[in-house]
Subunit: 194 residues, 2 copies
DNA sequence: CGAAAATTTGACATGACTCAACTGGAGTGG
DNA sequence: CCACTCCAGTTGAGTCATGTCAAATTTTCG
């Protein structure tokens, strides 16, 4: 059950995992499941868990004053689940995270992360790399939003994360791109005839 | 000359700095100056240095196919200078960084960072915190772009970083907000009469 | 003072949004 | 297995926020 996580950690650090490390990881990361539409986190809650997705698909989004959802992150297998800001700072989250496909994930508490996982060098190294990757990806996505048209953002998404299009319906993709489903529909029909 | 940096590091880690640490920091961070309009980094170059701003103001931006600048970051005293993606990955940057006010900064090479600074626990701790902060700030700004109007983004900027308005002209603020200077001008004249 | 930069204003264009209607599955239950 | 509902996706018409372009005005600063 923990194989994909172990493999992931090995891929994201140079330091080897000892057998003991693997034991600690297996004990602290606990398998949980959520079905479609269930919440991993709701707005206003503190994100007490962080998790690695073994199988499934989830979305993280804010809801504006008009009740419109704005998706800021989509996650599938081998990605992480949780609101970093709320988790790190122990502040109420402004986001919701819910499950789009029935999802299996390996969950850790913040206490276990601090007291046990951070004793493992490979974990620290991996977290560091993830933070870097996240910072880089966020900067890129921000730049895309500031300087690219909706159409260019869409074609970039198709090239960068083609999996998303197979896993999420278009109205979710549209929200992720920061546009309405109607606009996305029109962009797509234009692209076909070009 | 290094006081503000030393103070900054102390504020961003729980671990104490030893006298030896301070010596290493003073030797590896070298004071440089750039005058208004000069480049710290140009598109296509690898960002070989990372720097801490002692005094001054800089901007980081991409340039689109129409020659329009899109500002993704503004930095002033006690902020960091450099393109993280290019620096970490040693890849050519897609951004330019130039100086808006004559700027004094303390610069380190990547080699020194790896070989010397990373031996200092407080530096590692600080870097970790900076990555976290950066990831959180990026996420927030992304969410603002996806879900807020230009006007709301502007008022949020006024509240969050009022210094920016005193240091940068409005066409730069507009670009940072992802709008044109004309639109920002109209938003401001509306806000006054409200 | 004079030139360059910053800001504002007006007229017009356009990309994206809103709202509403419609189509076409995919599931569900009687 | 049909009728029904739900959800995804598309389309059209009208509107609105923001962009574009050009020019005027104000500010900054050597």
């Amino acid at each position: 059950m923990h194989e994909s996580l172990i493999k992931y950690i090995k891929n994201h650090s140079k330091t080897q995992l000892t057998e003991h490390d693997v034991e600690v990881i297996k004990k602290t990361f606990i398998l949980k499941k959520l079905r479609k539409r269930q919440f991993f986190l709701q707005e206003g809650e503190v994100c007490k868990f962080y998790a690695f997705i073994v199988k499934g698909a989830t979305r993280q989004y804010s809801v504006d004053e008009n009740g419109v959802e704005h998706i800021i992150r989509l996650s599938i297998e081998n990605w992480w689940l949780g609101d970093r800001e709320s988790h790190i700072r122990s502040t109420p989250s402004v986001y919701n995270i819910d499950v789009w496909e029935d999802t299996d994930f390996l969950q850790v508490t913040k206490a276990d992360t601090l007291s046990q996982l951070h004793l493992i060098p490979a974990i620290n190294e991996m977290e560091r790399i993830l933070d870097e990757n996240y910072a880089i990806a966020s900067q890129k996505r921000l730049n895309a939003h500031i300087s690219w048209s909706a159409e260019k953002r869409y074609t970039d998404l198709v090239n960068t994360y083609p999996q998303f299009l197979q896993r999420f319906p278009l109205h979710i993709i549209a929200s992720y791109l920061g546009i309405t489903k109607e606009t996305l529909s029109r962009i797509r029909s234009n692209a076909v005839t070009k």
